[in-house]
């Protein structure tokens, strides 16, 4: 049983009250949360210190303009927050941040995380091209019906880690029918419970997961079978990979927005990956033709190897692909395969070491001679 504070408002408004309380009571110096910008109306992450500005925030807004894990890394990689900051983020964003911290790309110090049992987000392109009001209406009414919203990112529709691990406060949304009138703030940690204590309202004890959570889990499992079924076949040979990435224009947007790809200079942008003039000649003789620039598939496979273990399947990569390649499906599928080998769930626990950074005498015996 967990401590839960109930606020008689819909989830976003209730969460705003909580953020406001945290700032007013000086429990945090700042809150980082999706916020609607004044002039353009577009939504992006903002760091807010002025309690009055909390009114402009839109926590749990169904779009991910930027993986918040990447953003937190940017804010803390040079030095941690020196005072408490509350961050509203999705489970995959939190997991991404934990993976980055394991790679020394940020610091968890002074960060309080407020997460949700997440229904998912719409692809950015959907949001840019379709009617926002309708999308929002559809999203929240689906959530209040205990269903998954239609048209969310593929990775969201089959996400298996939509119940956050390790957050301080969790707001159940997916699978819950109370979201339109009630906001429940669950404390998952001591720190979380401490913050709820002085906030106005009644604190009860309750389970975080409900029948609704389980229904969503089953729905998502079904979606996984549906969406990823023929992908495995395509991925099993080189030809399939070549075909899937044949429209790739080499913009590497997938890498730029990936919360795990943090290298300032990617291996595949280094001069080592470039062909010398002589190499073109030998390749021409050997193969008759060289796709130029070369290394298009090497990039994809290489990136898979580099990030597969830590891929949190957030779906940012698919969202920004100008060639509409289902990058996230491909990467989450291969990511899961390697994660299963090491029984590793990226970002679940800061104490779990990244498998390739550890050595166990008894492991992977199946691939030994």
């Amino acid at each position: 049983m967990l401590k839960v504070l109930k606020i008689n408002k819909e989830v976003s408004a209730g969460t705003r009250d909580f953020l406001r309380y945290l700032l007013d009571s000086k429990k945090v110096r700042s809150v980082a949360v999706l916020t609607r910008e004044g002039t353009s109306g577009w939504v992006s992450y903002s760091l807010i210190s002025d309690p009055e500005k909390v009114a402009e925030t839109v926590p749990f807004y169904p779009v991910m303009p930027y993986n918040a894990g990447k953003y937190l890394s940017l804010l803390t990689s040079k030095g941690p927050f020196d005072e408490p900051v509350a961050v509203v983020l999705r489970p995959c964003e939190q997991r991404a941040f934990v993976e980055l911290v394991k790679r020394q790309q940020g610091s968890l110090d002074n960060i309080i995380t407020i997460s949700s049992i997440c229904p998912g987000v719409y692809p950015l392109k959907t949001f840019v091209r379709e009617n926002e009001d309708k999308l929002l209406k559809d999203y929240w009414s689906a959530a209040a019906d205990g269903k998954l919203p239609e048209g969310i990112r593929d990775t969201c529709s089959y996400c298996e880690h939509f119940v956050p691990a390790g957050a301080d406060i969790v707001v159940p949304i997916a699978g819950e029918q109370h979201t339109g009138k009630e906001c429940k703030l669950f404390a998952l940690t001591e720190k979380g419970a401490e913050l709820l204590k002085e906030m106005e309202g009644k604190i009860e004890e309750s389970e975080l997961e409900t029948k609704g959570t389980e229904a969503i889990r089953q729905l998502r499992q079904k979606n996984e079978e549906k969406i990823l079924a023929d992908l495995e076949k395509k991925l099993s040979g080189l030809d399939g990979l070549v075909e899937m990435f044949s429209t790739c224009i080499g913009c590497h947007g997938c890498r730029s927005v990936c919360p795990i790809c943090y290298c300032r200079l990617c291996e595949f942008d280094s001069s080592r990956s470039e062909y010398e003039a002589e190499k073109y000649k030998t390749e021409l003789q050997k193969r008759g033709g060289v796709r130029t620039p070369p290394g298009s598939l090497a990039f994809q496979i290489g990136r898979m190897i580099h990030i597969g273990l830590s891929c949190v399947a957030c779906g940012m990569c698919s969202d920004v692909c100008p060639a509409d390649i289902p990058v996230a499906n491909i990467f989450s599928k291969t990511g899961k395969a390697v994660q299963d080998v090491f029984k590793y769930i990226p970002g679940k626990d800061i104490e779990d070491k990244i498998p390739v950074t550890t050595f166990e005498e008894e492991e992977l015996t199946s691939v030994e001679d």
Binding site: Y45, S46, I48, G253, V257, A323
Partner: protein, 360 residues
């Protein structure tokens, strides 16, 4: 350009030009050719000496997946290529020339064939519905004024120009533009000539239309980006994926200035900033990136529209950059990619220039 050399093109210009390259390979005029080839669903530049592979070549594909200038950079950045020929669009050739000035390409052994260009279809439209090919065009293509050998912007790097606009069906008219181009046509025995009056008329007409359309479109864009607020708003949706930079043929830096560690602050410093402003958008680097990129590359911007194609947020980034580019290029009377002898304005010093910004 009174007369052009007649190249038979019963199966269309693409096949005819691929045939031309094939013959030139057979006659050992070149070691290889660099042409777009259809691979599954995509079009990719392929360097090949294999005449069979040329059957799959799609000269002037409906989309521009990768800018030709960037392709030549990959090919010649570490030293010049063998003797090759390539068929590219004007904006690609101009980008390749700009890159040579930045020491990113070596074009010594490259023979350029340019083709009249109607424009390319935006990638997202084409992927959604391939029948949009040739019907819908990049906004910058619709207002492009250097689509052929017209006006005073034509690239001097072109060795042969292939005219298709207003040319009789079943034909392409070739104009040799350099001794190398002339030599190639001679070696291939393409000597029949025909009056090119119709082509001149057609391209000049289109040039006029485009010039007017360009003026109108850019004026509109200029209005929307007026002042700092206009710019902030135009880029407000930007998610900083930097796809625009990655696909830009001019942005060649291995490590971009805007990605430098220098710009990062500590968590505590960011908190101070948020405190001072009440609210700090994350990240605050957005406009710095776009303004920085503009000042870095706008003098060389060839308005190809790659950036706009690659933007997942549908920001008219190509049109915005084109407005800025036009103005900065006008100051120096500089046409990027026009001539390889003309040095880039920021790399030269003239005693008598920009006097209007001097202190009186």
């Amino acid at each position: 350009m009174k007369e052009g050399h007649v190249l038979k093109a019963d199966e269309g210009a693409s096949k005819a030009l691929a045939g031309l390259l094939k013959s030139s390979l057979e006659k050992n005029i070149f070691e290889a050719v660099l042409v777009p080839v259809r691979t599954n669903e995509g079009y990719n530049y392929v360097l090949t000496g294999n005449t069979d592979l040329l059957n799959k070549a799609e000269i002037m594909p409906p989309v521009m997946s990768i800018q030709g200038g960037k392709v030549l950079q990959a090919l010649t950045r570490h030293g010049k290529s063998g003797k090759i020929a390539t068929v590219m669009r004007m904006c690609e050739i101009r980008a390749a020339v700009e890159l040579s000035k930045l020491e990113q390409t070596d074009l010594e052994n490259v023979l350029f064939i340019s083709v009249d260009c109607n424009g390319v279809t935006p990638l997202s439209d084409y992927l959604e519905d391939s029948s949009s090919a040739g019907k819908k065009f990049r906004p910058l293509c619709e207002i492009c004024t250097s689509f052929s050998l017209v006006g005073d912007e034509q690239a001097q790097a072109v060795d042969i120009h292939a005219a298709t606009m207003g040319v009789d069906k079943g034909q392409v008219l070739l104009f040799p533009m350099s001794p190398e181009g002339e030599g190639m046509l001679e070696q291939l025995g393409i000597d029949k000539k025909q009056d090119a009056g119709n082509w001149v008329k057609e391209t000049e007409k289109l040039q006029k239309q485009r010039t007017a359309a360009r003026k109108k479109a850019l004026t509109e864009i200029k209005e929307t980006i007026k002042g700092l607020n206009g710019l902030v708003e135009a880029f407000s949706r930007c998610i900083e994926c930097h796809n625009c930079r990655s696909v830009c043929p001019i942005c060649y830096c291995r490590l971009c200035f805007s990605d430098k560690e220098t710009f990062r602050e500590t968590g505590g410093e960011y908190l101070d900033r948020a405190q001072a402003q009440g609210v700090m958008k994350c990240t605050d680097a957005l406009l710095r990136f776009h303004l920085g990129r503009m000042s870095h590359m706008s003098l060389s911007c060839v308005s190809c529209g790659m950036c706009e194609d690659a933007c997942p947020m549908d920001i008219p980034v190509g049109q915005i950059f084109s407005v800025v580019a036009e103005r900065s290029q006008a100051i120096f009377d500089y046409v990027p990619g026009k001539s390889s002898d003309e040095s880039q304005p920021l790399r030269t010093f003239e005693l008598d220039e920009l006097t209007e910004v001097e202190d009186k």
